[in-house]
């Protein structure tokens, strides 16, 4: 059941919206499948002139199952700009330039998304260009090799940040077999070997750049019927594929794990505490419960933040991330500590707080305030067509429909202190835990 408060908020926010959108997601939308399996979601918004197009391919670094081949989903984020016979890169860019379009792409564990935001009159042409590159991408081995260097350049520009290295190390330590072991960038040795993998890249494209893996999201100043006929015309002939990856299942962890990173230049030390958690769910309370713990336990209003950051001033950054991926992933808490000597203390405080949720029930009133916060947070986030499309894209990677947004927030609305306690007892436990520290001072990592 939807909470009455949700419905009221949605109505007061967007009085023009129809009743079809009585959940937290306030926009009515259409969702249709073409015969070839391509899914189209159209969301007319009340923001004028602009249209935002997100094309989500349900393949991210999770799909990189062969050893030595990490980073290929992300490589395609790049290769897709390498053009086709009809639209070589120069022409593709010239068209986008004529349209004043902002075009880019991103990759995560579970998805690769290509997005373009532009003036509404340019929608037919941009849909044609996108249809062309998804169906007829053509790059030669030389262009391929050159693009792998741009990917290495991306790794290089990230490499100055200890947070990137911390993330790499946490994953590589906590996971032994699942593809979440590597980041979306991939292992450095795999990136360096990419130039010789032209044939594999064609195979990767052939597997995943297929209609049954793809969802087109169009949000903005549009008419759903017209968009459907444009998509039929341009994308209808795209051939369905047959590949299904076999993603290795991570065995349960049996004891706590540790790792340490020696950082070569001056930085403040970091500690990250991670626990194996569940896969995303919109039918039980688990995802919502761990999200609630990440907020009640570690955000700006939490007692631990108050203690470590505001009162004791031992930490200058504290944040937590709940697991919300297709497959079971990590609940993480990360802190930047001002002095090396405080690392063990901060680590112990984080562990005690996270695992404390399994014993002490949360205050029901605090949970209600959090629920109120979430409703406003979600509404404030949808402040333009691009962010509406992007929000939907993140959920589409998980369930391929915006309906999961309402289902997830409904689970959240029903969440009880006991649900939270149960989730903590199941996941935030010693044997599920990985701790990684990072420091530029010698000798800090000794355990």
């Amino acid at each position: 059941m939807r909470s009455r408060k949700n419905a009221l908020l949605a109505m007061s926010l967007f009085a023009a919206s129809s009743l079809a959108a009585a959940g937290i997601f306030p926009y009515p939308y259409t969702q249709e499948d073409l015969p070839n399996g391509l899914r189209l979601i159209v969301i007319p918004t009340d923001y004028p002139n602009i249209v935002s197009l997100f094309i989500v391919v349900g393949a991210g670094s999770r799909n990189e199952v062969e050893p030595g081949k990490s980073g290929f989903a992300h490589l395609f984020e790049h290769l897709m700009f390498r053009g086709t016979a009809e639209f070589p890169p120069a022409r593709y860019e010239a068209e986008l330039q004529n349209d004043g379009a902002a075009s880019n792409a991103f990759t995560s564990d579970d998805l690769t998304a290509f997005h373009t935001t532009f003036s509404k009159e340019d929608l037919p042409r941009i849909l044609s260009m996108e249809a062309d590159r998804f169906q007829h991408l053509a790059y030669d081995p030389s262009a391929f090799k050159t693009e792998t260097l741009a990917v290495l350049g991306e790794y290089n520009k990230n490499s100055a940040s200890p947070a990137s290295k911390l993330n790499e190390t946490v994953r590589a330590t906590a996971f032994k077999v699942h593809t979440y072991r590597h980041t979306t960038m991939g292992f450095l040795k795999d990136i360096e070997a990419m130039p010789e993998e032209y044939d594999y890249s064609r195979q990767f494209f052939d597997r995943y750049y297929r209609p049954e893996y793809t969802t087109i999201i169009v949000a903005g100043d549009v008419d759903a019927k017209k968009v459907r006929s444009m998509v039929d015309e341009r994308w209808g002939a795209w051939k369905r594929g047959s590949f299904k990856p076999s993603i290795p299942v991570e065995p349960p962890q049996d004891a706590p794990r540790f790792a340490h990173v020696d950082w070569p230049v001056e930085t403040l030390p970091w500690v990250e505490v991670a626990y194996h958690g569940p896969a995303y769910t919109d039918t039980t309370a688990e995802t919502a419960a761990l999200d609630a713990i990440s907020r009640l336990g570690f955000d700006q209003t939490s007692p631990l933040y108050q203690k470590l950051v505001i009162e004791e001033q031992k930490v200058d950054a504290l944040s937590a991330g709940p697991p919300d991926n297709l497959d079971p992933e990590l609940f993480t808490v990360r802190a930047r500590v001002k002095h090396e000597a405080d690392l063990p203390y901060v680590q112990q405080q984080i562990i005690a707080t996270a695992q404390g949720f399994g014993t002490t029930p949360v205050d029901a009133k605090k949970l209600e305030i959090l629920k109120q916060h979430l409703r406003y947070e979600f509404a404030l986030q949808l402040n333009n067509s691009e962010s509406i499309a992007e929000t939907v894209a993140q959920f589409v990677a998980l369930r391929r429909t915006p309906a999961t947004i309402d289902r997830y927030y409904d689970e959240y609305a029903k969440l009880t202190p006991e649900d939270i306690r149960k989730a903590a007892r199941k996941y935030l436990i010693d044997r599920n835990r990985t701790v990684v520290t990072l420091s530029s001072k010698p000798g800090v990592g000794a355990k």
Binding site: L13, I50, A143, F144, T146, G153, T267, L268, H373, Y376
Partner: protein, 492 residues
């Protein structure tokens, strides 16, 4: 100068008529508030670099007279709101957005942050630590690209009001006291310096109340930036190499230009900059020749206005208006063996643009792009409001109309003439962040070729061009290259 006269007229009027107001009324249930004070690090006392920034940071991340910081955060939480504070050379911005249900409560908290700061010692200690760590760790330690860009500004404006990082120096921050901040607040948080921006479905009564509240600030004085000394003239190429243990080499280069938003040549230079290197788009000349064709790095861009935090953002934040701007090229990190070649290629492309101008067909494309891209820049109400405030400051009409109108009248000859008047491919400041600064210095000052290393075959015309690029002259003598250990940057 026309610009100065307009600014003076505005500030003079406001000294008598209260804060300036920029309004975008509408029906949206979301209300955006932007309080912009036209003061910033260019107003820092010379012995207290970073004072303007730290004052704003404590106001935004500390308690008020009545509430502790914790109480403010708790009060904002159910509304999912916050106030973001950022500070540049001439502007300090407090911005927040709320659902109209919560407008009164949210506004009360935001107002007290600005009108009744708490100045608590424990907040001060925390916020000052944050600033020092932002300099030493986040900027100097963890972000080679922004380090290079900010150091370029420091080098170009050395000895001038813009000549220090907005955050200040670690040494000066270490000596600052709450009393310094309160002094700065009293002298600069005035009605004459204030532009109030508001957008969304607020009522006229609400706006009248905001106006009344902020009329309790002192009437003046107003900060003046229209008569600042100009940066020193760059008479030959010069390079600063920041020595740091890092994987690759990040470059930034540029020089001051006497053109800012509202000046006659600004739209023409906007076209030139977009053609050479539109930020984070693949259509720019540098991107195509350096990344796409040669795989040198992740991207290469050009700028006519200050654009900080570009590695995290696709569109610039508004309210970073400046009276003095530089032309800048940003070369993202390059593998060391190709680093000097990449720098040469950027100079080669810049030289080509300066000598040959922009081809007519490409001018049309770039103009079309920019005419529509303004919609993207102002896609949120908050951004639209920010641009409107900047337009008020620069004395120009609504930004979208200003740009579209000016572009419609522009010809390729205008653009190429403006390039001729303001841009050049020599007399540059270059900043590099690198590990092996000795060999880079040797390559910059020696006259030997620095060929590119490819992993794939390239067409003959590219190979031919590379032969010219690999020997592109820097004209740098040994004394023109300074090596700076990273530990000393932003320290004193």
């Amino acid at each position: 100068m026309r610009r100065g006269a307009v600014l003076f007229a505005l500030t003079a009027a406001s000294a008598f008529g209260g804060p300036r107001i920029v309004q975008l009324p509408g029906k949206s249930p979301l209300v955006t508030l932007r309080f912009v004070f036209t003061t910033g690090s260019a107003s820092d006392p010379s012995d207290k670099p970073g004072l303007a920034h730290l004052t704003a940071a404590l106001m935004g991340d500390g308690g008020t007279k009545d509430l502790t910081y914790k109480q403010i955060v708790d009060a904002m939480y159910p509304m999912a709101t916050s106030v973001d504070v950022y500070s540049d050379k001439e502007m300090t911005t407090f911005v927040g957005e709320t659902h109209i249900d919560n407008l009164d409560k949210f506004y009360g908290l935001m107002r007290d942050m600005i009108l009744h700061p708490g100045w608590r010692a424990d907040d001060f200690k925390r916020v000052r630590d944050d600033s020092i760590n932002a300099l030493r760790v986040s900027l100097r330690g963890n972000n080679d690209e922004e380090l290079g860009k900010e150091e370029l500004y420091n080098v170009i404006y050395r000895g001038r009001p813009y000549g220090h990082e907005n955050l200040g120096t670690a040494a000066a921050l270490g000596k600052m006291t709450v009393a310094d901040l309160r002094d700065f607040y009293r002298g600069h948080y005035t009605q004459a310096n204030l532009i109030i921006g508001i957008a969304g479905g607020y009522s006229p009564e609400f706006l009248a109340r905001v106006k009344r509240d902020f009329e309790t600030l002192p009437a003046g004085p107003a900060d003046r930036f229209d008569e600042m000394p100009l940066p020193a003239k760059i008479t030959h190429n010069q390079a600063t190499l920041v020595q740091k243990d890092t994987r690759s080499v990040a470059w930034s280069l540029g020089y001051p230009i006497d053109v800012k938003r509202g000046d006659p040549d600004f739209p023409a230079l906007l076209v030139a900059g977009s053609w050479l290197g539109q930020h984070r788009e693949s259509g720019g000349r540098l991107f195509r020749r350096m990344r796409e064709l040669r795989g040198l790095n992740y991207g290469d861009y050009a700028y006519m206005e200050y654009f900080p935090r570009g590695m995290f953002r696709f569109e610039p934040e508004p309210n970073l208006a400046r009276h003095q701007q530089i032309f800048q090229i940003w070369i993202r990190p390059v593998e060391p063996p190709n680093a000097v070649f990449a720098l040469r290629l950027a100079l080669f492309e810049l030289d080509k643009m300066v000598k040959n101008g922009i081809p007519p067909a490409e001018f049309e494309k770039t103009r079309s792009f920019l005419s529509k891209y303004v919609n993207i820049l102002t896609k949120t109400k908050s951004a639209e409001l920010g641009y409107a405030i900047d337009s008020e400051y620069y004395g120009i009409p609504n930004y979208n109309e200003y740009i579209r109108g000016a572009l419609a009248k522009l010809t390729v000859a205008d653009v190429n003439a403006a390039i001729g008047r303001h841009l050049r491919a020599d007399n540059l400041d270059i900043v590099g962040v690198a590990k092996d600064t000795d060999s880079i210095r040797a390559a910059l000052t020696g006259n030997s070729a620095t060929p590119i290393h490819y992993n794939a075959t390239k067409p003959p015309d590219v190979i031919e061009e590379d032969k010219i690029v690999e020997r592109w002259p820097f004209g740098l003598r040994a004394e023109d290259v300074t090596v700076v250990p990273v530990e000393t940057v932003f320290e004193n």
